[in-house]
Assembly symmetry: C2
Homo-oligomer: 231 residues x 2
């Protein structure tokens, strides 16, 4: 019942970030009828090195068989338990714009440990309408007569995000996934993960520029430093 990791000590944050990768690869293998897999193969399907995979799994306990590999089903169950996916976490999406609707329509929630139990917006035109089988409510209604929610997903415009986050915390939500650009300041104990399109693109742009500069810098004007460093 209690995850192995609580006995073996805590799981490093970097490992936690990769467990979902492994779990996804494992469920894919399971669907293909594969019952056993070696760390080398599972690692390449997850995009990591096999040594890293093994060390990550070692934080959960020893569920592999030396000389053979891992039982797909068993390992998937262990990771799912570690991630707390044996139960269904109730999720609320706040902000029924394009993105909020896209997420509400996304089917990958249920069956993976999450269920959308409420949709929220502040536009009177939108409140009361039915989206994906759920009636959109206001935040106030969610607080008073809505279902209990554990995870809040914020898909509002940036200016509203902080106020929404504050209200969600006020009704007991401790885990937030924020799609609005900007940094939320919240009390300790609240877990926020930000997903920001602009940030991701800008990181790509940085590397893209590096590629271009690396090429164009081949013609000389500043070569003195470079050539010394190489040759």
């Amino acid at each position: 019942m209690v995850p192995e990791s609580l006995r073996r000590g805590c799981v490093p944050e970097a490992t936690v970030g990769r467990l979902p990768l492994y779990l996804r690869a494992l469920t894919g293998l399971h669907d293909q009828g594969v019952t056993s897999i070696a760390s080398e193969e599972l690692a390449s399907r997850s995009g990591v090195r096999s040594t890293q995979l093994r060390k990550d799994l070692s934080h959960l306990g020893s569920y592999g068989v030396r000389g053979v590999g891992y039982d797909v089903e068993l390992l998937a169950a262990q990771i799912a338990q570690e991630l707390g996916l044996t139960q269904q976490w109730p999720v609320v999406i706040v902000g029924m714009g394009n993105l909020g609707r896209a997420l509400a329509a996304y089917g990958g929630f249920s069956g993976r440990g999450f269920r959308i139990v409420a949709l929220v917006d502040d536009d009177p035109e939108v409140v009361g309408t039915v989206v994906e089988g759920l009636t959109v409510t206001t935040l106030a209604d969610l607080a008073t007569k809505g279902p209990t929610v554990t995870i809040g997903v914020i898909t509002t415009p940036a200016p509203a995000a902080q106020a929404v986050a504050d209200e969600l915390v006020a009704i007991g939500v401790r885990s937030l996934l924020n799609f609005a650009p900007g940094h939320l300041v919240l009390p300790d104990g609240v877990d926020v993960r930000g997903v920001d399109l602009a940030t991701e693109l800008q990181i790509l742009a940085f590397h893209e520029q590096r590629r271009l500069l690396a090429i164009s810098t081949h013609d000389p004007l500043s070569p003195a430093a470079d050539t010394e460093a190489i040759g």
Copy 2:
């Protein structure tokens, strides 16, 4: 013209990931009419420590004034240049489902260094329709008669993502932002960033479970399990 960092050595990856945060905070300050800011204040608005902010900025060069702080406009310009945002990178979105449309409608692209120049789908019903002022084309048409694109955003269902990525790389795209779950395997030199809703939620679930277990483990029953598991 050439960013300062090319002379001062390379910028750490962790720093690159935070530069967009600083840039966003700075543009916000600029809009409010603030012209100068100290590292302490800028750091708290970005959600990092001031020492970290200063070290990050030191990789770009010295643009602060001791005793005063940073010139908002100048620093923003420096970061923008470092990230390669002085030009407009042409972006294609592949997959005109809910998420693809949401991204196409998102206004935060232009003015921040990116411009959507093409929308792609493979559904004959969708190809030819106009979304956000752009006519949806096929990948084949993009390759032959489409505009040049530098960054590809993949919002297709998971099974199609790998094939789409391969085709994008074939027409010269070297930077991909993948919203489809799963790991893309691509040649060296291609930069992929994955954004996965399920992964983010599962990381939140992990911490949420930790919180709950930390409370429920206060009552004793589990210590026995320890001895059993070990012996």
